[in-house]
């Protein structure tokens, strides 16, 4: 039987322990194969990592079996979870490898309030107005954590590092960023500044 012929949710819940074990083993192989393709060529991924990711992914998929709604192939859904497991761990490892001093220094910069120089983008009237409104909005309309997550994004910090620096969850940090974006958008809207105005002013 090929992977596409297996009714995965049924097989993985089979009461026959032999059938279930075979399905679990087959799924592990599918996940391992996919991870090998996706992570091929990365110098930070060894064969042992692939084994670990496949095993961890398998457990995560089995744990979330009830969440599969059948709107895609089961294996595609499971691969998405496996990739989330693998990439989350790889990002975590990357930040673990950064020295504590560097991380703390990053954290100090990260926590500083937004200060945007009025002349940073030239003397053009529209640009100056945009920067003034934006600076005011960042400094006055955002909470400290919203400001931190927004500045982290602008400084191209990986989102998982922002999450770590804030000591929160990824979903909570994403909500902070979403709320920050909405607040800035609202303030610009109230000031009569549209996205088109900004794009024209900066020739974006």
């Amino acid at each position: 039987m090929t992977g596409s012929e297996i009714d995965w949710p049924v097989a993985l819940r089979a009461t026959d322990s032999g059938e279930q074990a075979a399905a679990v083993s087959a799924l592990r192989e599918v996940l391992h194969h996919g991870l090998r393709i996706a992570l091929n060529g990365r110098s930070d991924v060894s064969a042992a990592h692939l084994e670990d990711f496949a095993q961890e992914s398998l457990l995560r998929v089995l744990d979330r079996l009830d969440q599969f709604q059948g709107r895609s192939q089961f294996t595609t859904w499971a691969q998405a979870i496996a990739l989330n497991v693998a990439f989350t761990e790889l990002r975590r490892k990357r930040w673990r490898d950064v020295s504590l001093d560097a991380l703390l220094a990053d954290g100090e910069r990260f926590a500083e309030p937004a200060m945007i120089a009025d002349d940073a983008l030239g003397a053009d009237e529209d640009r100056t107005r945009f920067v003034a409104v934006l600076r005011s909005a960042i400094e006055n309309d955002l909470t400290p954590k919203q400001r931190a997550v927004m500045l982290g994004e602008l400084r191209d910090l990986p989102f998982d590092q922002i999450v770590e620096l804030l000591g929160t969850s990824r979903s909570a940090a994403y909500k902070m960023l979403h709320d920050a974006r909405r607040a800035l958008k609202q303030r610009l809207h109230e000031a009569g500044i549209t996205g088109a105005d900004i794009q024209n002013a900066f020739s974006l």
Binding site: A38, R71, T76, A80, F87, E112, I116, S171, R181, L184
Partner: protein, 82 residues
């Protein structure tokens, strides 16, 4: 903080404009994106239209580099299996 750290670069302005232009009142977070990304990926691969709900995946991917990285890896796997 040094003065040069206080400045918005042209790239950062571009990032803000992009972020704000894509911002809507209701957005998928990363967990919701993960729940629906497999359907989105399969539909993209088959050039099939996406529902309004699934379109929220596309919007999230435009704003979240981490989820986009995982989506691109998923597409790599799906394409290899074609």
């Amino acid at each position: 903080m040094k003065p040069e750290d206080q400045r918005l670069t042209r790239e950062q302005v571009g990032s803000i404009v992009k972020m704000l232009s894509l911002t809507t009142d209701r957005e998928f977070n990363c967990a919701e994106c993960l729940q629906h990304v497999s359907e989105f990926a399969e539909r993209q691969l088959a050039h099939q239209p996406v529902s309004k709900v699934i379109a929220s995946v596309e919007q999230h991917l435009a704003l979240c580099p981490e989820c986009r990285e995982e989506y691109e890896a998923l597409m790599k796997i799906l394409k290899a299996g074609q």
